[in-house]
Symmetry: C2
Subunit: 138 residues, 2 copies
DNA sequence: ATAAACCCTATAAAATAAATAGGGTTTGTA
DNA sequence: TACAAACCCTATTTATTTTATAGGGTTTAT
């Protein structure tokens, strides 16, 4: 399951996508819309900004805005940023690889091999679904 | 990512699959092979037994054994049993449904709709990969 | 000047996962 | 028939991760 962080990030991105004709959107507006703590959401938006998905403007009249086209933001990107690996095991993660302690020899581990296949197929799904798909459904 | 419980369960099932010509296998043998605590593994094997995947024999000379063909044990089954939902959000889980607190109206939520699609495609993968696929790779 | 907004780091609280403990029950074998 | 080896069960503790809070600092439009 996705963490609340990721879930909130998706809500925030969706909100920003729906209001992209407005120049900026306030944290407070998104937080109120979804009943999220202002401060918690702030941390999430900062991460999205550092990752290059959002821009922001300081000072009175400032706020956040999308700096990418919704179709350029795949679910895989958001999930990896806030939740970490998409792979089901550390030993098959592309971005967060770690060996499995209980595995004597990864090279001959059937679980490892199958999980690589699962990872590749799952990635295909999550790379193809983007913020645009979410917006189209609203 | 899968919990250690699920990972250990997969290792245990694989071990049992590789030794299915022997009548029974001891917890201790599996635990030693993968450096898992005997007691922790015991709890996992009991769950697998309750779920109808394993049989066991008490008393001296007893142990655990597979009671299903490896191809009848899909990953989805093991994951759901030990880890819970396969869906990425509670509001799209088939087996562990719960509404999302921050969602005002699930019926018009684009995230919900897209996550239903992701769930269906992910399920296809995890239902098609079975213990047999793991055993074939070893 | 000032208020409204973003930015940053650290810490606390809550929830979950992982492991341990301690015994009970069953059953094959000597 | 005693005993040891194995499964069976429940509860508790420990560790880790997630979630949330706190408290301020910096920037900028008006």
């Amino acid at each position: 399951m996705l963490s609340k962080k990721t879930k909130y990030a998706l809500h925030a991105l969706t909100y920003l996508g729906k209001h992209k004709d407005e120049k900026t959107v306030l944290i407070q507006d998104i937080a109120e819309e979804h009943g999220i703590s202002h401060k918690f959401l702030e941390n999430i938006l900062l991460e999205l900004k550092k990752a290059g998905m959002l821009g922001s403007k300081k000072g009175k009249g400032g706020g956040y805005y999308l700096i990418k086209e919704p179709k350029e933001i795949p679910l895989s990107r958001v999930i990896r940023l806030l939740d970490g690996p998409i792979a089901l095991l550390p030993c098959v993660s592309l971005n967060y690889y770690e060996p499995c302690a209980e595995c004597k020899n990864e090279a001959i581990c059937g679980i490892n091999r199958v999980m690589i296949q699962v990872r590749d197929e799952t990635l295909k799904i999550l790379e193809n679904k983007t913020l645009e798909d979410i917006l189209k459904e609203e």
